[in-house]
């Protein structure tokens, strides 16, 4: 009778699955618990609160009532938002021109270096170990527009006209990207270097025997091999440049006249200079949506694909055989 009353547990239910998962690994879950709690407190809860704030009327950082999309409407109507959005894409453009290509070239040069390789490797990586804030302050001094300052003295010595550097709205973003590249390129070069070192030397030898010159070897052997790395770092670079913040904050405060303000810096200015947490949160959410979209692109691009190297190589070998 007792057995007849007991209902069989629904094995497909979520609760059953969760219970089973916990029972199977309860010690593991317990070990993760402190970390999960910290994540919940320091990451997930603030994220959720930020989304809520973006739909709220705020006083300080407190929500004092929902106001639907008012913060978003206000942000979209702010001329500075348009400037920040356009600037963010300018940052990306210049980071592709300067920040993306430089590490590839450096990686290739470094992989070809015969003498003093460790020295060059250390030299290239060295700026990456300097504090980011120290780097931007140092470059701010170098970019001093006074004709007597370091870089202007160099320009004068080379017979070039002096520059106002960061005060020139056309130069502000490229120069900030130069600063970011100077500091960040070292780490990226090491990633390229490790990808380059994984290329089988016999492929270069075969290419050489088939009469391929240095450029042909780079084009037909090296680049196809590191294509996945390039693709991955390209998307990661775009995502990280979208979050450019402290460089313009310290070097230009977003100026001159908003010429270097980025979305994240604008979000910061809303929150901490205009005391408008709602607008700041809305900007953060907009930024997050853009980054999520880019991440989806990245995930699609980084799916493992068929070995394109052999196909390319076969094509090249066929061409040279003819």
């Amino acid at each position: 009778m007792k057995q007849a009353n007991a209902l069989p547990e629904d094995r497909s239910s979520l609760a059953y699955k969760a219970k089973r998962l916990f029972k199977r690994n309860w010690s593991g879950w317990l070990l993760m618990l402190p970390g999960l709690l910290l994540f919940l407190f320091f990451v997930w809860a603030p994220l959720a609160e930020n989304v809520l704030l973006s739909f709220s009327e705020t006083k300080g950082f407190e929500s004092v009532g929902f106001n639907n999309f008012e913060n978003y409407v206000r942000v979209f109507h702010d001329p500075m938002f348009t400037k920040a959005l356009v600037n963010t894409f300018k940052y990306i453009f210049w980071s592709i021109i300067i920040g993306f290509l430089v590490p590839i070239v450096l990686g290739l040069l470094l992989s070809e270096a015969v003498h003093f390789k460790p020295f060059f490797r250390l030299g290239i990586y060295f700026p990456s170990i300097v504090s980011g804030m120290a780097v931007v302050i140092m470059w701010s001094y170098l970019f001093d527009p006074n004709p007597g300052a370091v870089l202007n003295q160099l320009l004068t010595a080379l017979g070039l006209p002096v520059s106002t550097f960061l005060s020139d709205p056309d130069l502000t973003i490229p120069l900030i990207v130069v600063t970011m590249t100077w500091r960040g390129a070292g780490g990226t070069v090491l990633v390229y270097l490790s990808a380059l070192q994984n290329i089988d030397n016999s492929q270069y030898e075969a290419a050489r025997m088939d009469g391929a010159g240095a450029l042909a070897r780079i084009w037909h052997v090296t680049l196809p091999h590191i294509r996945q790395t390039i693709r991955m770092l390209f998307i990661l670079q775009i995502i990280s440049v979208f979050q450019v913040f402290y460089e313009p904050l310290v070097m230009t405060s977003g100026g001159p006249d908003g010429a270097s303000v980025s979305l994240l810096l604008l979000s910061y200015q809303y929150a901490f200079q205009s005391f408008d947490a709602g607008a700041s949160a809305a900007t953060g959410v907009i930024l997050a949506v853009i980054i999520i979209a880019l991440t989806i692109v990245y995930l699609r691009l980084s799916r493992p694909k068929k070995n394109t190297v052999s196909r390319k190589w076969r094509k090249y070998a066929k061409k040279t055989a003819q």
């Binding site: 010690s27 993760m32 709690l37 001093d144 006074n146 020139d168 100026g255 001159p256 200079q273």
Partner: protein, 472 residues
């Protein structure tokens, strides 16, 4: 066994987190009063002075525990500090800030405490207004400042603008007693031209342009070019933005022309720290600044205090001559207890920042002077926040003993300040400054092509739409 080990480890970790969280709330029975204006540890003489004040206070009030909790106010950090209740019991801010802090509910009403101490009616009326709302007082003024023109006397002498007296001091006046230093913006330009001609890589003047400092200086310049006010109050009590007034346009055009002719420092993102860096490093001969920060090139860049003069703001239209009048108040977070606020107020007395004239207060003022003197800082007259005659007499007598600069270099400024002083614009001052910053930056970075009227029109309509309409 391995599983149990994992479980024990996680329990230990969890316990550690809980314990550290619980430990945060522990303390002794004393009333903690944290002091935000405690000096930076690198300023050893100042720290020593504060420690002496702390010891004296705690000896007289053993129920209190004075704690150093340095906090340098900035608009960037106040929201986070106030919301997370991390503000010290007393900290300094600017006169532009209390209204915003009050409306956010971040600072405490201290009217009753001030009344109880008998200090309330002794506060300078202008300064009291800056820290009050609806008749209630939310702070204690530390001191005031007026904006003026700081001069590098050595450079001005070298280019022949000023002379020298028989005793080797600089002569700022001619034989008829008329000033030789620039008193109009045209004269500032002329002096700048002389400086640029005579020195390499040196400019006449530094104009700030970032972090709201550009707008702060510019509002004073606009008044002096004839702008009646940047926020006009109508008969119906409503406010209208007047950032594009003819006087303001002239002031911006003056900046543009100075930039085109390379007479001002060629940087479009200069913040407050930059004026004394450029002045102290002799990159410029003149700077607009507040009378409370004249010592900054001396303390930070070793500038010779005897080669500095501080004179009234020049006029642009020949008749308008104002000095933006601001200052520094002490404020208290709204979550501080009555006992903590009372302790903080009493500690101000031990710092010589109260209207009291007892031995403790006067000794503290004297100690401040002694410390400044030993650091080689210029000690000049201060714009006092208290109006009681007894206090003014005692404090001024002490000042006279310690003033270590040639007062002739400062006389004009302090003599004219009572008539020239003018409070900052009433509403959303920092936001207005931010919009003006953008206009100045545009002028500095597009020197040849900037349309000053159009830039100020844009700033004006945005200020009206986004800010002043909230007041009306």
């Amino acid at each position: 066994m391995k599983r149990w080990l994992c479980a024990a480890t996680s329990a230990l970790l969890g316990g550690a987190i809980l314990f550290s969280a619980a430990a945060c709330g522990k303390g002794d029975d004393k009333i903690k009063v944290s002091i935000g204006m405690w000096p930076d540890p690198t300023l050893t003489q100042d720290v020593k002075m504060y420690k002496q004040w702390e010891a004296a206070f705690e000896a007289d009030y053993p129920e209190y525990d004075i704690v150093a909790d340095r906090y340098e106010y900035s608009a960037d950090t106040i929201t986070a500090k106030a919301t997370s209740r991390q503000l010290p019991t007393v900290f300094q801010t600017y006169f532009t800030e209390p209204q915003k802090l009050i409306s956010n509910g971040w600072i405490a009403d201290v009217t009753d405490e001030l009344e109880e101490l008998g200090w309330l009616d002794k506060i300078d009326a202008n300064m009291r207004e800056a820290v009050s709302k609806d008749g209630r007082c939310y702070g204690v003024p530390r001191d005031g400042y007026g904006m003026g023109l700081l001069l590098n006397l050595e450079m001005l002498y070298d280019v022949g603008v000023i002379g020298k007296n028989g005793d080797g001091t600089y002569a700022l006046y001619d034989e008829e007693g008329k000033p030789l230093y620039p008193t109009t913006f045209d004269e500032v330009r002329e002096v700048s031209e002389l400086i640029v001609e005579s020195y390499d890589n040196t400019y006449g003047l530094v104009i700030l342009s970032a972090n709201n400092n550009g707008g702060w200086q510019f509002s004073n310049m606009a008044w002096n070019f004839g702008c009646e006010a940047m926020q006009l109050k109508g008969a119906d009590g409503k406010y209208t933005a007047n950032l594009n007034d003819a006087g303001a346009v002239k002031a911006l055009e003056w900046i543009r022309d100075m930039a085109v002719d390379e007479l001002i420092y060629p940087d479009a993102s200069l913040t407050y720290a930059d004026w004394y860096a450029k002045f102290g490093s002799r990159n410029v001969a003149m700077a607009f600044c507040g009378s409370d920060s004249i010592m900054l090139p001396v303390t930070n860049f070793g500038f010779d205090k005897d080669k500095i003069a501080f004179v009234p703001m020049p006029t642009g239209d020949g008749s308008s001559r104002y000095s933006l009048y601001g200052g520094t108040p002490y404020v208290f977070p709204s979550y501080a207890t009555k006992e903590q606020i009372k302790g903080a107020l009493l500690f101000l007395k031990y710092m010589g920042r109260s209207p009291e004239t007892d031995e403790i207060s006067l000794k503290a003022i004297e100690k401040g002077h002694q410390t400044a003197k030993s650091k080689g800082m210029p000690i000049i007259p201060t714009i006092r926040p208290w109006t009681n005659a007894e206090y003014l007499a005692a404090a001024n007598a002490l000042d006279e003993q310690y003033i270590n600069v040639n007062l002739a270099y400062y006389d004009d400024f302090f003599d004219t300040l009572p008539e020239m002083k003018r409070a900052e614009e009433p509403y959303y001052c920092q936001d207005m400054y931010k919009l003006l910053d953008a206009a100045i930056q545009n002028v500095l970075s597009n020197k040849g092509t900037a349309n000053c009227k159009s830039l100020l029109d844009t700033a004006n309509s945005q200020f009206q739409k986004d800010f002043l309409n909230k007041v009306n």
